[in-house]
């Protein structure tokens, strides 16, 4: 019985939970001018979590806690991606937080709890675990969005996020209850068996599936469940925006994979159709609406919507190759997105958000290096070689064509042409226009280093993508996905 608990499988989660609770306590005894202690403890936690995940790495899948969680290569890989993402966010946002009086213990602790929720989403092997993980992440994020109490726009964004998020969670839970009702189990393995052996009531199963997909679509921010995204992105403090836009997308991808593939592969034909609609709508609307935005954060919000549409191209093929393409997409998208918000925070200072497009004017004159990094980010988002974004698009399009969806591939490339327009516009502002702002850009040394590495990684992975492509392939072949 005790052996069945297999605590090692959830060791990274245990580490993060313990650390989050400890930092909450320690922070009480730290004076305001020594708040960086909490900051570095959080960073240390993330480092330890990465090391723990690496040391407990196993090639095969381990189910633990009575099959409530599963620890496989996919989980390990995506967990590490989330740890790294949160760590980078902390590096980029330090000055931003300090300047706005948000450099507080609660922020770090909430981030860690959100991270814990993501980890649970990544490792969940039961409907209930997945749902709990999602709620833990979402509740922490709602609080984080509202963490600037005196800021009306943030409060409004938090309210919107909370109401719509709760609605989506409700839908997801409702769908899960139907799946539970007809398959008789919360355990994804049992669900899968019941679906394959046709013991489940097909009508009820399809209805449940619709609600589950709607809930997932909300978390992935795909059309038509995207309404919250632009407002929350714009209203939330930038470090929270980037947190919402990166790691949770990875977690939501993992959750979608667990639910749809591990659990409901038997009805893949049904969810494939739904994902096609979501994917096409997201690619088209996301890219089209992004053109008319004047605020960088809103523009990146629509860019997220469009990019999740491309990611779905991989997911909807319902085979391992497509999944690994989607995984590569979501991980590299997170990396690119991190760098883009990193630059936005770099340009902001006390009382100045630097979130209008015009704030990028003449960046090449002010700082050729950061303009170059942003150039890489923009071309990567547009999916142009030699950046990593190209391989991401290449892989999902390849997966779609391989599955016979040539028309989807054509839609994807045509919408990415529209996308190229607004990404190019930022390059245009940075390189072709004269600066309106002449103040020098002051950046902390560690932020400079990390952001530069992050940006250059887009280029390096764009020239040598093989390792990451291989990792994504291994993660899925070792994880028993059909």
């Amino acid at each position: 019985m005790l052996a069945d608990l297999n605590a090692l499988a959830a060791l990274p989660e245990i580490v993060v939970l313990t650390a989050a609770a400890s930092i909450l306590l320690i922070d009480l005894f730290v004076s305001d001018d020594r708040r960086h202690v909490s900051y570095w403890l959080t960073q240390l936690t993330l480092l330890v979590a990465v090391c723990v995940t690496l040391t407990t790495l196993r090639l095969d899948a381990v189910r633990a806690y009575h099959d409530l969680v599963i620890d496989d290569m996919l989980a390990d890989f995506l967990r590490i991606a989330c740890f790294v993402a949160v760590s980078l966010i902390l590096f980029y946002s330090r000055s931003y937080l300090v300047a706005r009086g948000m450099f507080r213990g609660e922020v770090f602790v909430l981030m860690l709890f959100a991270l814990l929720g993501m980890e649970v989403m990544i490792t969940g092997n039961s409907l209930l675990t997945l749902y709990l993980g999602l709620e833990l992440m979402s509740l922490s994020l709602y609080a984080l969005v509202a963490s600037r109490r005196d800021h009306a726009q943030s409060t409004e964004a938090a309210m919107k996020y909370f109401v719509l998020g709760a609605l989506a969670s409700g839908m997801l839970l409702y769908g899960m209850s139907m799946i539970y009702g007809t398959t008789g189990s919360l355990d994804l393995d049992h669900v899968a068996r019941a679906v394959f052996t046709r013991h489940a009531n097909p009508a009820l199963l399809t209805l449940g599936l619709v609600f589950v997909i709607a809930g997932l679509a909300f978390k992935l921010a795909v059309v038509p469940f995207h309404m919250w995204v632009p407002d929350v992105y714009e209203g939330a403090p930038t470090p929270v925006t980037v947190l919402i836009g990166t790691a949770p997308k990875i977690a939501a991808f993992a959750m979608a994979l667990r639910l749809l593939s591990s659990g409901l592969q038997g009805v893949s034909f049904d969810w494939q159709g739904m994902l096609i609609v979501l994917s096409v709508l997201s690619m088209v609307l996301g890219n089209l609406i992004a053109i008319s935005q004047t605020n960088v954060k809103r523009m990146l919000a629509y860019s997220t919507i469009a990019n999740m549409g491309y990611m779905l191209l991989g997911l909807l093929t319902a085979d391992r190759y497509g999944y690994s393409a989607a995984m590569f997409y979501v991980v590299t998208y997170a990396l690119t997105s991190l760098a883009s918000f990193g630059i936005v925070m770099l340009l902001s200072r006390e009382g100045f958000e630097s979130d209008r497009l015009d704030d990028f004017k003449g960046l090449n004159r002010r700082s050729p290096w950061w303009a170059f990094i942003m150039l890489l980010v923009m071309f990567s988002l547009a999916g142009l070689p030699p950046t990593v974004g190209f391989y991401a698009k290449f892989m999902v399009i390849e997966a779609a064509i391989n599955d016979g969806f040539v028309w989807l591939a054509v839609v994807a490339v045509m919408t990415s042409l529209i996308g190229a327009f607004y990404y190019l516009r930022i390059v245009k502002l940075m390189y072709f226009d004269d600066p309106v702002e002449t103040l020098p850009i002051v950046v902390r040394g560690d932020t400079q280093l990390v952001l530069s590495v992050n940006g250059l990684l887009l280029l390096v992975l764009g020239i040598l993508p093989q390792q990451l492509i291989g990792l994504c392939a291994i993660a899925l072949t070792q994880s028993n996905f059909p």
């Binding site: 090449n364 050729p368 150039l375 071309f379 142009l384 070689p385 030699p386 190209f390 391989y391 290449f394 399009i397 390849e398 064509i401 391989n402 040539v406 591939a409 054509v410 490339v413 045509m414 990415s416 042409l417 190229a420 327009f421 190019l424 390059v427 245009k428 390189y431 072709f432 993508p465 093989q466 492509i469 291989g470 392939a473």
Partner: protein, 490 residues
């Protein structure tokens, strides 16, 4: 074996990065010298490609083959045959000239300017020698980025519009090509271009593939009616940008026709050859008339480029040794001549800051040496025998007459039109009495400009008087290409 092809790609790119790394805007001279040394080194490493080239075989030479992305069977596969090798030399030579041409002219952000050209040069060499579909695509797309910046940062007043139009237009075509490449991969399980020559394809697959490839390359060439980005891009681009655009970038479009369209989808190509020939003739004749009425010199040369490139696509789709060789010769010649013409306009623009023909007149009185050079290049542009422009046009017209007399007749109209628009412009700008005070103050070309134009003049005359060494290089490869094309894939 020395990897000359890799060197021809990476030496300019490394030099470009070095310029970016060490060149400061305050110390522009340093950046210029590093750029020039890098460009010359880039040219020197391509010389063995010609010197050691075996003209007796149509197989790929100087092949480099390494695994790159095994998951998709993508390789770092380089190689050249008689069709592509000359363009690598042309491109590397042009890079030297362009760096040199921008020497005193470019004064803002010199390091970035030089770096953009060097990096682009390396990428374009990559396009010409890539034998893997994705490797080709990576170079093909990446090359847009430096050109976009060159037009947008150092261009004229309407540069933003021109740069955007250039980028989006060319991206539109190439994105569909990406779908085509991946489709070919799903059929053949390989990204090797040479494998694709052998894979059987039904007509139902060939036609969509043909359209995708055709859009990508027709935009690049550019063919009528997708040519409208070119005049805008040329007018707004700095002189160096125009030179590279006309001399090399357009050739990449034409190169795509022989490397991809003809051998990979031969049946669709034959089926649609009438369509291409019609578009080519419209480019030759109609765009020739359009060139005639231009008031802006750069625009005139841009339209003349479109018209000349019409000859290239015409030559390819005649399916004869003469036609294809003529088209390739025309590509090389146009590389020299259009570069020279744009440099000439640049020389005048640097002094007068105007490209309008109406602002000039009687330049020969103040710039006699320059007028002599421009005379030669104008004659070459009009296709005068003895200049490089004649070789390609003559061969293509010959092939066209063999195919159909009226086809040849329509193509030959270019000889009249080309002479008309080029020489009429030359007359209005150079001859006559001194038109205004600005022209009277002009100074003749300096030493740098003199040698720059001399290099091109030697090339134009050399190729015109004795084209045999160049044609010999192509001969076997073209014969082999035509054999491949003749085999049906159905």
């Amino acid at each position: 074996m020395t990897p000359y092809l890799s060197l021809s790609i990476w030496v300019p790119i490394a030099a470009g990065l070095a310029v970016l790394g060490v060149g400061r805007d305050r110390d522009a001279a340093f950046a210029r010298w590093i750029a020039l040394i890098g460009a010359i080194a880039g040219f020197l490493v391509t010389i063995p490609l010609y010197a050691d080239f075996d003209t007796a075989t149509s197989a790929m030479q100087f092949v480099e083959y390494a695994s790159w992305i095994p998951r998709f069977g993508i390789h770092y596969h380089l190689g050249v045959d008689g069709i592509s090798v000359l363009f690598i030399l042309l491109n590397s030579l042009m890079t030297v000239l362009v760096v040199w041409a921008g020497w005193e002219v470019i004064t803002t952000r010199v390091a970035q300017y030089m770096a953009a050209f060097l990096i682009m040069s390396g990428l374009m060499n990559g396009v010409f020698c890539a034998l893997d579909g994705i490797l080709f695509y990576v170079f093909f797309e990446a090359m847009l980025i430096p050109m976009y910046l060159i037009i947008g940062v150092w261009g004229g007043p309407n540069r933003v519009y021109a740069a955007m139009k250039f980028f989006l237009y060319t991206l539109l075509g190439s994105l569909l090509m990406l779908v085509a490449l991946i489709y070919l991969y799903s059929v053949s399980e390989s990204f090797e271009i040479l494998e694709w020559y052998k894979v059987p394809l039904e007509m139902g697959a060939q036609i969509p593939l043909w359209i995708a490839f055709f859009l990508a390359f027709a935009v690049k060439v550019p063919m009528w009616p997708v040519h409208t980005w070119l005049p805008d891009a040329h007018v707004e681009a700095p002189t160096g940008g125009s030179v590279v655009l006309a001399a090399i970038t357009l050739k990449i479009g034409a190169y795509g026709f022989v490397r991809f369209i003809l051998p990979i989808v031969p049946d669709a190509s034959r089926y649609l050859s009438g369509f291409v020939i019609t578009l080519s003739l419209i480019a030759v004749v109609y765009i020739g008339f359009v060139a005639l009425v231009q008031a802006d010199m750069k625009k005139l040369i841009a339209y003349s480029s479109i018209s000349h490139m019409g000859f290239v696509t015409l030559g390819f789709f005649l399916y004869s040794q003469l036609g294809v060789e003529g088209a390739l010769a025309q590509m090389l010649s146009h590389g020299f001549v259009s570069a020279a013409m744009f440099l000439c306009v640049g020389v005048m623009y640097d002094r007068m800051h105007s490209r309008q023909i109406a602002d000039y007149g009687g330049v020969v009185n103040t710039m006699p040496k320059f007028a002599a050079f421009m005379m030669l290049f104008a004659m070459a542009n009009a296709g005068l025998p003895g200049t490089s422009g004649f070789v390609g046009e003559f061969l293509v017209i010959l092939a066209a007459v063999k195919a159909n007399f009226w086809l040849g007749f329509a193509a030959a109209v270019t000889l009249i039109l080309g002479a008309a628009y080029t020489l009429w412009m030359y007359k209005r700008v150079i001859f006559g009495p001194v038109a205004n005070a600005n022209v009277a103050k002009l100074t003749d070309i300096g030493r740098r400009e003199f040698w720059l134009l001399t290099v091109l003049a030697v090339a134009v005359l050399g190729m015109g008087l004795w084209p045999k060494p160049l044609i010999d290089v192509m001969h076997v490869s073209v014969a082999n290409l035509l054999q491949t094309v003749a085999r049906s894939k159905l």
